[in-house]
């Protein structure tokens, strides 16, 4: 009977011990860190979502624009560079500036070619390239679209 009474007293003492101030503070710090991490992840996800929406919007705007004629092209967010066939770097016709570009089809030596054929390259004599680069980058949050167009020019 005496032993049982002592056990009850001991049990009550333990239950009423509670937490120290340090333990409470540490618990709050851990909770705060976890909540901050979760919050940052949510914010980051939200930014990713917004970036993808912006990229999509910019892509649509970009592809709408590049098919327009030169005088209607919105150059505020697109840089258009026309490459004329041939060598010689940049040149100007007085109004526009162009660059030269040489396009070649160079044979890939995959080991099955006859001897002496490794260096064969074919110039695309009548093919020119126009490059369109979007200069708007959604305040650094998106990937700017860019594309090339090949055209046959006699």
């Amino acid at each position: 009977m005496e032993v049982r009474r002592k056990k009850v007293i001991l049990h009550n003492r333990i239950n009423h011990k509670g937490s120290t101030m340090v333990e409470t503070l540490v618990s709050f710090v851990v909770l705060f860190i976890v909540l901050a991490a979760l919050y940052n992840i949510v914010v980051f996800s939200s930014e990713l979502y917004l970036r993808s929406v912006d990229t999509s919007r910019l892509q649509q705007k970009f592809y709408r624009e590049i098919y327009k004629k030169d005088d209607k092209l919105d150059t505020s967010f697109i840089t258009k560079t026309r490459y004329i066939k041939g060598f010689g770097g940049k040149f100007s016709d007085g109004t526009n500036t162009y660059e030269h570009a040489a396009l070649t089809l160079t044979i890939v030596d995959d080991g099955t070619l006859p001897a002496g054929m490794e260096k064969s390259e074919i110039y695309l004599n009548n093919t020119e390239v126009t490059s369109y680069v979007c200069t708007e980058d959604n305040n650094g949050n998106g990937i700017a679209p860019k594309v090339v167009n090949f055209t046959f020019e006699k």
């Binding site: 976890v34 979760l38 992840i41 949510v42 980051f44 996800s45 939200s46 990713l48 979502y49 970036r51 993808s52 990229t55 999509s56 892509q59 592809y63 560079t81 490459y83 004329i84 066939k85 041939g86 060598f87 010689g88 660059e99 030269h100 570009a101 040489a102 396009l103 070649t104 089809l105 160079t106 044979i107 890939v108 995959d110 099955t112 070619l113 006859p114 054929m117 260096k119 064969s120 390259e121 074919i122 110039y123 695309l124 004599n125 009548n126 093919t127 390239v129 490059s131 369109y132 680069v133 990937i143 679209p145 860019k146 594309v147 090339v148 167009n149 090949f150 055209t151 046959f152 006699k154």
Partner: protein
Amino acid sequence: MVLTIIIMAILIVFVFSLILVSYNLYASQNKNLASSRNSEAVNTLSMAIKGELTDENADTNSSLWKYLRTNVAYTPEQSDYTGFDGWKDWPYFDASGSDANHSEEKAFRYFTLENNPHIEGMPADVTVCMYWTLPLESDGVTEISEKTLFDRLSGDGNPKGVRLHVVIKAETGGQIYETEDVYRLTAKNTNTPEDIINVNKLFKNDSSYDVCEHYPNNLSEATPTVDLTEKWTWKYEGRK
């Protein structure tokens, strides 16, 4: 305690699901961009090559046309049937796979598109694969062999039906876009040899473009052994 762990686990799963969905959306948008870039380049290059091959003046101002003229159905023994043993250099492609000499490995020629200088917006890797096939039975050629095709190519002057396949592939950011165009050869006999030897001023702005290599014959040096009395034209048949 257990309740706390369960709540935390649910929260973490929710948050990580959120980040996964957002990342997938973002990644798919970037793939979409790369894919559009590839398709634009491939489709326009396809049109440009079509122009190079089918233009009425292609025989005088297109290196690609000249390359095919001196390579497709080319045979070193063209003037002498004795000892004819087929197109060693660029064999036709036989899709049946019954002949190892006309397999994909032997018959496909791969080229990379190179440009000087670097052009902004160009896909990371553009390759062009070309191969040619024998006429189909629907073309009226009943006996299809290298020898009979050779006879017919230099014979009655009707369209022969040799097909050229041009496969253009662009790759950027892990995305691939590919097209395959088919051209049909028409070869007509003329008494006047085609003047494809003179390769003059292929580029209007620079004479250094005059030189182009046409294996097996560099046209600027030697008389090619192909039959230049045949007038070749390529007709675009469409996409495969």
